[in-house]
């Protein structure tokens, strides 16, 4: 069965390693924090200026001055710090953040990503996404495998305006885990109960299937 948003987040959480500083985008990526192992040390960075983000505050303890990049009220954990926007992006551009997880509308087989604009419809803006994808070496995209009309989001070439070029290394979707290299999607894992044929059908870009493809293990 295809994974829902929480399932995708649960699988991506396995990519988070001990000692990592991680930036989580808005949407599915935000859910990743709920599934990270508790026996490792990880710090979450939010580009509006906080490192060491904690869970949402208890009711009545919200502070308008302490929010994340999604403008949600948050708390901080012991060891947290606040900083200005320029320093925040120094952490990102300077490759001090180890892992970036973000959503996408489209990913191409050459690693291009589009996630900020649909021409003719609403343009909300790129926020920090262009800085994140242009700088990070370890970028995981979290998204559904196909859009609401059932069309593939893993393409030969992006049709929407790009956020960054040749930057995505891994994609975790509702159907599969894929590595992006040599201008191809390489199938690494299948969602539980999902066949290679289903993944093939949902993938418009070049899909490489090498040998037996294991199912994801979601504890």
């Amino acid at each position: 069965m295809a994974l829902d948003k929480n399932g995708i987040a649960q699988r991506i959480a396995q990519e988070v390693q001990d000692g990592f500083y991680v930036n989580l985008g808005i949407g599915i990526p935000t859910l990743v924090a709920n599934y990270v192992r508790t026996d490792i040390e990880v710090e979450f960075q939010s580009e509006n200026g906080v490192l060491g983000m904690g869970p949402f505050p208890f009711e009545g303890e919200e502070d308008a001055d302490i929010i994340n990049a999604g403008k949600q009220t948050i708390t901080t954990l012991p060891g947290a710090s606040f900083f200005d926007s320029s320093l925040s992006f120094a952490m990102i551009r300077g490759k001090h953040v180890d892992l970036t997880i973000l959503g996408a509308m489209e990913v191409a087989e050459n690693g291009d990503i589009a996630n900020w604009k649909i021409p003719g419809k609403m343009v909300k803006g790129m926020g920090g996404a262009m800085d994140l994808v242009a700088s990070a070496e370890n970028i995981i995209v979290a998204m559904m495998h196909t859009n609401k009309r059932g069309e593939s989001k893993l393409l030969k070439q992006c049709s929407l305006p790009l956020t960054g070029v040749g930057c995505v290394t891994k994609v975790v979707t509702s159907l599969a885990v894929l590595e992006v290299k040599n201008n191809q999607f390489h199938l690494l894992e299948r969602a539980p109960g999902v066949s290679v044929e289903e993944i093939q059908k949902g993938t418009a870009g070049t899909l490489i299937v090498n040998g037996e493809i294991p199912e994801m293990i979601l504890s």
Binding site: D65, I67, S85, S88, R93, V123, G128, A134
Partner: protein, 233 residues
């Protein structure tokens, strides 16, 4: 001590005129200069260019200036929370220059620090880089981005003193420190104007040299855009 204190928001905004370029601190509604924005509405200045990460919501923050059609152009990274903004943008009444968030911050900081421009990897290969100079360093491509030029910067701090020293709180810091000294005149409004000498010099976030005018702000609403909470066990 060089005194930067002015008595109120009216005095602080003296010299603001139509067609000027204004920087405004804040991320969403967090750390926005509420008093300066209210005064800009009262002054009825028109056709201003606003450099601000976001455009407020319909009835608060820069949304208030948008409602009165006082803004000619917005330079922002994300503008997704505002229906009036969308309407004016789609109808062509409002000019919008979307800029990657880190680039926006650095264009402020570059102006503050005296750099005319800088290279950034953000936006390379996208429409943001169209028409801009690009250059390769160590095998990677970068885009040349010029520093901002602005007439006024309006920032909000938690505490400050008459010397113009500022201390920020939590994530309301955001773009505020980067905009101090990045415009011809920087106006700081503070929740608490404390006597000179009470701020520990080790704890000052922005030294007063970057601030031309400071005043005690009033009636802060500090609205929350997304109130997210968890239940006590």
């Amino acid at each position: 001590m060089i005194n930067k204190k002015v008595k109120n928001v009216q005095e602080a905004l003296q010299g603001v005129q139509s067609n000027m370029t204004l920087m405004l601190g804040g991320f969403g509604l967090c750390g926005i200069p509420e008093n300066a924005i209210a005064e800009l509405v009262k002054l009825e200045v028109r056709a201003v260019t606003c450099i601000s990460n976001n455009a407020g919501i319909d009835d608060f923050g820069l949304g208030r200036l948008l409602q009165k059609k006082q803004i000619k152009k917005m330079i922002s990274s994300y503008v997704g929370e505002n229906d009036e903004f969308e309407r004016q943008m789609l109808s062509g009444e409002l000019e919008v220059e979307l800029t990657p968030q880190g680039t926006l911050a650095e264009k402020c900081r570059a102006a503050q620090a005296g750099f005319p421009a800088f290279y950034t990897p953000a936006g390379y290969g996208t429409e943001v880089a169209e028409g801009k100079e690009t250059r390769e360093f160590d095998g990677k491509m970068y885009v040349l981005e010029p520093a901002f030029k602005a007439d006024f910067a309006f920032v909000k701090a938690w505490k400050g003193d008459a010397a113009g020293n500022l201390v920020f709180k939590g994530t309301s810091r955001n773009f505020n420190p980067n905009m101090c000294g990045a415009a011809t005149i920087t106006v700081a409004e503070v929740e608490e104007l404390v006597p000179v000498g009470t701020l520990d010099p080790d704890h000052v976030h922005i030294p007063g040299i970057f601030v031309q005018r400071i005043f005690q702000g009033k009636n802060y609403e500090k609205r929350i855009e997304q109130r997210t909470v968890r239940k006590k066990q």
